[in-house]
Amino acid sequence: MKVLLGTGGREDGFDALVRTLERTQEAGDDLTVAVLETSSDADVESVASDVRERIAASGIDAEVRVLDGHPGSQLVEFAESEEFDRIVLGGGQRSPLGKIDLGEVAEFVLLNADVSVTLIR
């Protein structure tokens, strides 16, 4: 299966990367990681280099792409044009009280993607 993981600089995105790399190995998926320009303070290029490092450590051959611009729409458009089977995203941040906050990228992708979307908890 062709899997596209989208991540910004947030912790839940990085957790999703770690879990998806495990899953990729088990399932023999073809993984691409899109680094998104999200509203988090993290710099896109430094996120991309962290992502490349983590992928290299896993021994999996996955492509990393930096997508500029509006993160949700860029991810959905990329998934469609490159014919991915599934989009994977982090499952949201936790508020001080422990509530899950999905964030604008997840909301946009869930509502606009025409492929299945998996949120990692």
Binding site: P96, G98, K99, D101, L102, E104
Partner: protein, 174 residues
Amino acid sequence: MTDRTYPDDTVGSFPPPPAVFTDGDGREIRIRESGRDDLDALVAMYEDFDPADRAQGIPPIDPDAIREWLDTIVSPDAVTVVTEHDGRPVGHAILVPDSGEGYELAIFILDEYQGAGIGTRLLEHLLGQGQAAGVDKVWLTVERWNEAAIALYRKIGFETSGSESFELEMSIRI
């Protein structure tokens, strides 16, 4: 989050606990400040919580997860108030400090005690306890379809502060 907005004006003063009142179903309800001594009783209350009333993943369902969650949020910096009937908790409300100057609010009431005016009293006394503790800014998130909860928060004085995500964010200055 640092970009959270609050109303310019403060809402008047709220009563601090303790208090006793008769609810809409004629039950005698006590409201008092709670804390870490109440963890066991609160875990038992949350084990009885209707899963349909959960919001954004809380409260957890598994008893161990409930205890871990309460252990984290019922900290010395939090403001917590409980309502009791016949000596056991039937409602719990809490203010938990965020990473800035604000406090996040949540309120939980057991199913058979909803719709009897307990939520209003519990919220008023939680905010009263918050004022006594020096809390100034309070915010919450609520599902957009939860009209009863949104109406209650508005009645207390909360205003919508964010509507661009799945949940509605509301805030108040006390």
